[in-house]
Symmetry: C2
Subunit: 222 residues, 2 copies
């Protein structure tokens, strides 16, 4: 099973949580509020507590290339991947960012779709255009919400097996563990369901267990 | 004339520049690289050098409401306005952010259109949907690029006089001072043309002069 834990709150000390979860999860996603509130050096301090797995800076970048590279350069040495929005396009934007990340041996992850109801107002209607961008850009990974597994399935069909699909929205936002993986995602991203638990390690183990059961059920169904 | 200076680089000390420009510009826009690299307290330190005009945090927010509010809360006490993307829609996103900013007496500025060539790939094609979002949301201000004055004019026609239009793209990105104001913008945002000058005050005065001349010419033409 593939589980990444989202750390967003700028008011919490996550060091011992990271250490507790290190051997049972596949990575950590650091949110913009955390990185801006605690400072970018905090990413290095957290990583020193667990130097394995995939570390992702969830900057949700959506600017011209020059500014996205400036922002990325502040944190990139402490992470393996950076998240940007597909809607800003390639020319003068994601193309420059991908080249910059490639030169550093780092991964680009592009948001294809979002999980909140407002995603229906613009994002969803632009999905075919965003998939064109992703198809041409060929980033290492994309983000698509666990709350809407049919979007994951259609993206997997469209983009094939070479792209890594990361799927937030499990837990607090309503999706059940395993549903996104059943639909074709590679990683499920879980935040508050684990980080707000009194026993984050037990909560993470329960998520992994639920993922396993769900995947067995959907494999039987297939 | 209406001139806002963009401060983006995280590697520069902008204190004396802010003081030098304070009495001749209408405000400052603080970029995400600056805020993340220098820490949010830096916004307070800069503002203490010029406690007038409009101070804007250009966070280019594009996330669910919960995360946008967390990020905004880190810097909002030091600024008058915050920039977010129209692309993320209202429900569970910009609606929550606007309510949060209203409760603090702060302004929401929504990106309607961008200046780089890649904006043609997705953003431009989604413009009618984004204008629906803006029309319903009624933010204090919107962002539309000086590099494409016809977009500014059509947005002004569509949204009327009540919305404030802020226009980046003057200088390094190619638009001439005054062109966006002629097209209907309220403020032009200028970065490197002023901040990279050996004499930023002289450069800002030259921009204001060029704005004035351009506006006189376009009024004569109208």
């Amino acid at each position: 099973m593939s589980l990444i834990v989202a750390l967003d709150s700028p008011d919490r000390e996550f060091g011992s949580l990271v250490e507790d979860l290190c051997d049972i999860v596949d990575g950590f996603k650091l949110g913009l509020p955390l990185l801006m509130g605690r400072g970018v050096d905090y990413a290095a301090r957290l990583r020193s507590r667990c130097n394995r797995g995939l570390w992702i800076a969830d900057l949700k970048l959506a600017d011209i290339g020059h500014v996205m590279k400036l922002t990325t350069s502040l944190v990139v040495e402490h992470v393996d991947a950076v998240i940007a929005h597909g809607f800003v396009g390639i020319q003068g934007a994601l193309g420059e960012l991908k080249e910059f990340l490639n030169s550093l041996g780092k991964k680009l992850v592009v948001v294809a779709s979002m999980s909140h109801p407002g995603a229906r107002e613009v994002y969803d209607k632009a999905l075919p255009l965003i998939l064109n961008v992703i198809g041409e850009l060929e980033p290492w990974g994309i983000v698509a919400p666990a709350t809407r597994p049919q979007v994951i399935t259609s993206i997997r069909e469209r983009l094939g097996d070479s792209v890594t699909i990361l799927s937030p929205g499990v837990g607090a936002q309503g999706a059940e563990p395993g549903a996104a993986i059943c639909a074709g995602a590679d990683y499920e991203i879980v935040g508050r369901l684990i980080t707000s638990s009194n026993d984050p390690r037990a909560a993470a183990l329960a998520v992994k267990d639920a993922q396993k059961q769900r995947l067995q059920a959907c494999k039987r169904g297939a």
